[in-house]
Every structure is written in structure tokens, then in C-alpha cells.
Symmetry: C2
Subunit: 512 residues, 2 copies
């Protein structure tokens, strides 16, 4: 009988080679957003397309298929990894999933998609600057056409939108999201009503005084250090849009942006990306290149960033330790401000036009707007050219505000230009997961809040490493959540967390 681990070892070495190509592409992208001179843009798009197409071609090769086929039941087409341990079975299951999906996409399509989206992104940035949707329209139409083509290749059972969701959050469907979002919306609108009726809402103008940019960055680094983000295996740079990228758990980089008159922007970008960064630094190095060395899904990834940004970074416990430090960085701006006033300012709730600046209550309403618009687009109930109108309509319906300029409306996010339709819902899933994980962490580590008050954040990092990061994609997001909390995904922990925090700050209580 042949050694069952031999094809697996060969498979892993082939996956490693493909991973190196993806790492190189990731570095090309990171460089594009951080240090690349403007003149290099066009060639960079071609370099990226070549590398990504090569990685795709190498992955869907007959050799990989042959290696996988040692473990595939010819009748069920499922992985039968007899004689292997659970981790190896999971590795094969997830690689087979990736392979089956990738195999549906022709190499030529991958190449076209990369080029078109690279180009569309550049045009989008220009269109947003000029507040000119019509400039972007033909490019967005091509991107959407590519998505329809992709959906045709991928196939779906119910909504064509499911084919896109599945790319970013395996197993997520429209049928699952719609009731979840409906319950969430109901709870958020109720919260918002209380907020609107509150007698003395917090004032957040202290956050928008003049704050030296170098000092802001220094404090951002301090927060990252405190979270346990390892600068020997990472770095912080500036980019127009904050992001995290990884070339291996030993080289995980975060970026931020900094504005002199906006303290929260840099601060929460650092903490948010730091949450992503801890996930990537916490993945098992020995599984690098395999699915077990990768994050489960965008929803779980976002749970890590939102947990640190909101459940921790907007908590009074966190600022009990960090606010005195922040005051040392900005004595003239914050010297006379109390912890309570600062904490309330950080948690002010106010419907606004821009998603990335939204508070925790209205943030998910921004996501619902996008979800409904994308769904209508993919189900061909609206044309690309009519998106600006639909955007205004939905913003009014969900948030009660209407953008006057498309730059503050339909053009505000980069995602569609990148072809990332179906991505937005993962942000809300992340918020829901985050509250469930954080609640469980507080139960598992009874001293956690006290530790956070003292600035000791490593117990939380360790809990996340141990319960989530170390497994890579060994479990599905649903299974992982159940292993950790014993529960299925629900909106209640998130709403309950918000009702308590926002109720405390605004002076109301909602009993259930």
C-alpha cells in the first residue's frame, strides 16, 4: 500500500511555490499603495496580472489535480483522507474546495479581470477626486460584466449573488443574510431612536482639534505594541486607504493614514489593522502556503479587526490605561479632558455619509445600503448607470441622510473598482462575530477587563491566537464559532453590547 502522506507532502511543496508567487504579487500591491512612484502604475498592473495568472495556472494544473485525486472519492467527489490526521484532512478538503472553484475560471478570464480591475481602480480614484461618476461608469460597467461572467463560471443554487458571497465568506448566502440583517436593522433603528431622543448627547469636537501627525503615528505604534503586534515581523506605513498585507507570518504589514485635524482616523486605523495583523502573525508558520496557514474568511478576519477597534479600542477599560498616555502625547489638546468625556466623544452616534467614518450603531446601516444595492445589481433589477440615484434613495431610507455629491455617495468606496462585489456584508458579519468572540473571551478569562484597564492586552491576544488564529482554515467559520461559543451566529450579542455601551453614554436603557 502506498504511503498516504507522500502525495500530501508533494502537494504542500507545490502549494508553497504557488504561495511564493502570491506573496510576490502581494508585495507588488503593497508597494503600489505605499512607495511606488506614480509613473510605474501602468506596468505594475501588467506585472500583477502576470503573477496572478501564473499562480492560477500553476494551481489548476494537472499535477495538482493528480495529487489531490489520491484523496478524492471518485463517486462522491469528496475528500476521503483515510489514514491522515484531522489537520491533513482539513487541508485536503479546503485545497480541493479552492481547486474546484479555481478550475472553473479560465486563465484568460483571470488575466482580463486583473487588468480591468487594476485599470478601473485608477479611474475610480480620479473620478472620486473629480466627483464625476460618468467618468467611472464605463469602467464600472466592464467590471460588473466581468462579475456576471464570473458568476456564470462559478454557478449558484439560489441567488447569483451567492456565487460572489461565497468567494469572501464560504457558505454565506443571501438567504442567511437577509433575516440576520432585518433583525439587526430593527435593533439598530430602535437604538438610533433612543440616541436621537437623548437629552445630552456627547460632543466629539475635541477629537478634531489640531494633532501633530508624527505624534499621532507614534501613539498608533504604541497602541500596536501594546496589542502585541510584533514589529520584528511587521511594519507600519502610510497609504491612502489603510490595509493589512502578509507575505508570511514573519512579515505582516499594516498601513494607516493620518490627518492633522482628525484624531480618530489614524488611531482607529492602527488598532483596526493591528487586529488584522495579529491574525496574520498568529497563523501557523508550518502550514504556510496551505489553507491551514490562511485566514478562514473575510468575516472572521474582520471580526479580529473590529474586536480590537471597537470592543477593545472604544471601551472605557482600554482608555483607563491609554488615555493618560495619550494626554502625555497631546497635553494642550487633552490635558483638561476627563476619561469619561473622551470615551463618550469616541462613541458619539450620528448618521453620516461616509462608511469608514461611521459610528458603531450606524456602520452596519451603511453595509445594508451596499448589500441591497449590490443584490439589485447582480439580480439585474438595476442598471449600473442608475446606481447614484439608488444610492441616494437607500441612504435616505436607512440613515436619513442624502449625499449631494457622488464622491460622498456611490463613489466613496474602492471595492467595486476592484471587482470586490459581495465583499461588504463581511464587515457586518465581522461585527457580529467580534461581539460573540469578545463576550466568550471575557467569560474564559475572568480578569480580562481588569487586565485591559491596566493596559495588559496580551491575554486577549493569546486567547485569540489559541482559539482562532492557530487553526487557519481547519474549521469553517460556523464550526469555529460553535467550538468557541457553543452558539450559532446571531445579532443579539452585538446589539446587547451596543445597548449597554451607548445606553450608558447617552443615559438610556433598553430592557429586553
Amino acid at each position: 500500500m502506498p504511503n498516504p502522506t507522500q502525495p500530501l507532502a508533494t502537494l504542500k511543496s507545490r502549494l508553497l511555490e504557488i504561495q511564493h508567487l502570491k506573496d510576490a504579487a502581494a508585495l507588488l500591491s503593497w508597494d503600489q499603495e505605499t512607495y511606488m512612484p506614480a509613473g510605474g502604475g501602468q506596468t505594475r498592473a501588467e506585472q500583477l496580472a502576470t503573477l496572478q495568472t501564473l499562480a492560477h495556472d500553476k494551481f489548476v494544473s494537472p499535477e495538482i489535480e493528480d495529487l489531490l485525486s489520491h484523496h478524492i472519492d471518485p463517486t462522491t467527489r469528496l475528500v476521503q483522507a483515510n489514514g491522515l490526521d484531522d489537520a491533513s484532512k482539513a487541508l485536503l478538503r479546503e485545497t480541493w474546495r479552492d481547486f474546484s472553484r479555481a478550475k472553473k475560471l479560465p486563465s484568460d478570464f483571470v488575466n482580463r479581470r486583473e487588468r480591468e480591475c487594476s485599470l478601473a481602480q485608477q479611474v475610480w480614484a480620479e473620478a472620486r477626486r473629480r466627483d464625476d461618476f460618468m467618468h467611472f461608469l464605463p469602467y464600472l460597467q466592464r467590471v460588473v460584466a466581468l462579475k456576471f461572467e464570473e458568476i456564470d463560471y462559478m454557478g449558484y443554487d439560489n441567488s447569483p449573488y451567492d456565487a460572489l458571497l461565497d468567494t469572501y465568506d464560504p457558505g454565506a448566502t443571501v438567504a442567511q443574510l437577509q433575516p440576520l440583517f432585518a433583525t439587526l436593522r430593527h435593533g439598530l433603528l430602535e437604538l438610533l431612536k433612543h440616541v436621537r431622543e437623548a437629552a445630552s448627547p456627547p460632543d466629539d469636537r475635541i477629537l478634531f482639534q489640531t494633532y501633530d501627525e508624527q505624534q499621532q503615528l507614534a501613539f498608533g505604534k504604541l497602541a500596536l505594541h501594546g496589542m502585541g503586534y510584533d514589529f520584528n515581523r511587521g511594519r507600519l506605513d502610510l497609504s491612502a486607504h489603510p490595509f493589512t498585507t502578509s507575505f508570511h507570518p514573519t512579515d505582516v504589514r499594516v498601513t494607516t493614514r493620518v490627518f492633522e485635524k482628525d484624531l480618530p482616523s489614524c488611531l482607529f486605523s492602527c488598532i483596526h489593522e493591528g487586529g488584522h495583523g495579529l491574525y496574520e502573525q498568529g497563523l501557523p508558520q508550518e502550514q504556510y502556503g496551505t489553507p491551514l496557514g490562511e485566514a478562514i474568511s473575510l468575516g472572521i478576519h474582520e471580526s479580529q479587526s473590529r474586536l480590537w477597534e471597537n470592543n477593545v479600542g472604544r471601551s472605557k477599560a482600554f482608555w483607563t490605561h491609554f488615555f493618560p498616555l495619550l494626554r502625555q502625547y497631546f497635553p494642550s489638546q487633552l490635558g483638561a479632558i476627563s476619561l469619561d468625556v473622551f470615551h463618550a466623544a469616541l462613541n458619539r452616534v450620528k448618521p453620516s455619509l461616509i462608511r469608514v467614518e461611521a459610528d458603531e450603531v450606524t456602520y452596519n446601516l451603511h453595509i445594508m445600503v451596499r448589500f441591497e444595492i449590490e443584490l439589485a445589481l447582480i439580480e439585474k433589477r438595476v442598471a449600473v448607470k442608475d446606481l447614484p440615484d439608488l444610492w441616494r434613495e437607500k441612504m435616505q431610507e436607512y440613515l436619513g441622510v442624502t449625499p449631494e455629491r457622488d464622491a460622498e455617495g456611490v463613489l466613496q468606496d474602492v471595492h467595486w473598482s476592484l471587482g470586490a462585489l459581495g465583499y461588504f456584508p463581511t464587515y457586518t458579519l465581522g461585527n457580529l462575530y467580534a461581539s460573540m468572540f469578545f463576550r466568550q473571551a471575557c467569560q474564559d478569562v475572568p480578569a480580562l477587563e481588569t487586565e485591559i484597564q491596566q493596559g495588559h492586552l496580551l491575554s486577549l491576544k493569546d486567547w485569540l491566537n489559541h482559539n482562532i488564529h492557530q487553526y487557519g482554515r481547519q474549521y469553517s467559520s460556523t464550526d469555529l464559532l460553535h467550538r468557541i461559543t457553543g452558539r450559532v451566529l446571531s445579532v443579539e450579542p452585538f446589539l446587547s453590547y451596543l445597548r449597554t455601551k451607548i445606553g450608558d453614554i447617552y443615559g438610556f436603557s433598553i430592557t429586553r
Copy 2:
């Protein structure tokens, strides 16, 4: 009859894809030297090995061979590009040369070489820090063993060292270099004798006062701007060892280093690397990926950097314009210094231990030391373990100085750890070419010296673009030199240039 340009067009598109892989590898290397966190080193070596092996495999593929074979005479094995223009013929000739050479190296060897050299480089850096040659010895022995293996694959006619030289400077041979170097040595020692006997040698201590590092970098950028280096297609960063890298003529990056108590280091690194950068920015974009989009040889590349660094950057004409500016950057250090004193300080001649700090007269003696040692090593007249002794002996013989520490001796240069044996002679070739080119430029552009005195450097840049850069590898270095100057390579223009400049400063004259 088939269209003769069809295989050529296909070939170019395949070469472009390979070029994108090489570009990605170049970015991985640039990043390693500039921004990579320390923890990422080990994986980076593996990523580089994968990309370079892939690029090699794609190049020596049957498809490339088949495309080339449309133009190869089956008897002579030479390119027969009937019906094509001269540029296309040159493209095929050079691609065939590269292919024939690359085909001799097994993929496994390329991969081993990349890994071993990446590792050896890290160990070398540590060994130099610790002044511990024995730490580096086993790694250097493996690198040298790899070079012997490479020489066996490549083959040679006379000296095995020719196989290495040919990698960096096609056509260069030991038989060509030895008489050239002998004449050069004779001329340099004569110069050095006059320098030693001079009554009042210049004092260069003014260059080693305290100079603010940010101001030094700002002035470096000013010089690069003045040379016509395009920052929209490039950038300047810091690295331990200054270098230039290109990912396309629209993205050519230079690095420098800066020391507070050493004005020449940053200044001349910037100008030197700027010369390399102008070559890369001046290559024809439409030939990108083909040999016609590449520099001819390291010797010609070095001629560009040395021309700008020495023939221009150490000339009185250059500083006539730039010294008043430099004084504005450093009024307290240079406000009371005259142009003549500054210019003389920049050109002080003194035998010293470190190549990269050497003056123009002794620089090539450093190269001769390395050439003789490498030749002895490759011709198996000396063992790796005996290199430190041989180094001391040759330094005493050529320069009259002996290093006490290996860190200032055999360990000073990175080249051997990278496997770059046979590389050093290109520096001297570059110096010789530089003087011949610059002399010709002064003849072709009679106003050149006056323009340089006025800070107008673009005529020189244009001359270099027009005569050298635009052709890529269309001509061999010998043919290019002959096209431009009507002459063959000789040491006399270089010696004559030095005799005049150094004689003026030291107050002697050598008549011929």
C-alpha cells in the same frame, strides 16, 4: 511563406511575462534592503529562489527554443534573421545568447545557487560585523564550489575565470584584462609617486565635519534632480549598501546611505546611483522585456555611474554651480571655504583600506587586488581559507597598506557572498569607458563644460540617452564604443584625465 515577424511577436510576449517575474524578484530584493522587517529574511530567500527558478525555467522552455529556432541556422547555430530589421536581428542574437547560456544551467542548480547565496549574504553581514572570517568561511566555500559547478556547466576556452567574466561583461577575458590592467597600474603608480612627493597635498578634513543627515539627503535629491533623474519614475531610499534597481523604465529606484560625519558618502552615492538610474530610465520602453530594453553590460553600466560621480561630480565645473548651493545647505561648515579648497578636498588621493571610499587614483588598484585574488581562486592556485592572508599580501603590494582586521580586508565587500565572482573588473572597465565617453561628449557638445558650470546637466544626459541608453543591447560594448568614439578601449584617456586633474590640484605635471 510564413510571416517572419509572427514568431518574433510571440517571443516578445513570452519574454515580457518572464520579465514580470524578474521584476517581482527585483522588488523582493529592493524591499529586503530597504523596508523588510528583520523577521522576514528567511522566507524572503525562499520567495526569491522560487521566482528566479521559475523565470529560468520559463526561459529555457521548449516553447522559447521553438520560437528562436525559426531564426537559427541549423548548421552554424547562429541567428539568421532574414527579412527583419537590424534591431530585431540584434534582439534575436542577444536572446539566443542568453538562451544558450541559461540552457546550460539545470533548474535545480539555479535554485540551490539562489538559496545558498541568500544565506551566505546574511552570514557575511554578521561575520563582517563580528570581524570573524572563520564564521563566513564554510559559506564562502560553498559559494565558491557553486561557482566551480557553474563554470563546468558554462565551459570556457582559456581561463575558467573567463566563464565568470562573460556573465557580467560579455566578451571580456583574462587575456584582454591583464595587459590593460598592467598598463593602468603602471600609470597609476607613477601618478601616486607624484602625489606622494607633492609639497602641499589638499586637506579633506572639512568633508568630515558634522553634517545634518536630512540636509545631506535633501542635497542628494537636488543633485539627482539636476542630473535629470525623474522622480516621477523613481525614488531615493536608504539602504546599508547603495544600489539601483529597475522594474521598468517608469520605475527605477536608487538608494543611498548617510553618515553625519561623512559628507562625500551620501553625496557621491546619490550621484553614482543617479548615473545608473539615468541609464535604466533611458532604456527604450517599447523594448521592455527584450535584450534591447536592457543595459549592455556591467562595465557600460558602471561607466554611467562613474562618469557622473567622477568626471562630472568631482569636477570643478560641476561645483562652480553646485558649491554655492551646498554652502546654503551647510553655511556653518562650508561658508568660509573656497571652491578651490572644496574641489581639492574632494579629490585628495590617499591609499586606504576600503574600496568604496577610495579616491580615483587608488580605486583601480583595489580592483586589481580583487581581480588577482579571484583569478588565483578560480584557477585553483589558492584555497578559500587562505584568502585573508593573500588579501593582506596583495594590499601591501598594490597600495602599500595592510588591513589589521578582516572586516577592513577580505570581508569588506558583499560580492563574494552573493556569488558575484568576476564582477569586480567591471568597475575598472567602467572607469575606462567613462573617460572615453566623457571626452567624446565634450567634443560633440562644445559648450558642455560651460553648461555644467551653469548647472545645466541635461545636454550631457541627452547625449548619453542618445548615444548609449536608447540602444539597450543592440550593440556590444566594443561596437558601441567604436561607434561613439571611433576607438577601442584603452587606459590612456582615463590616465590623461587623472593626470590633468590631480596634477592641477597637487601642483605637478606629467608630460607624455
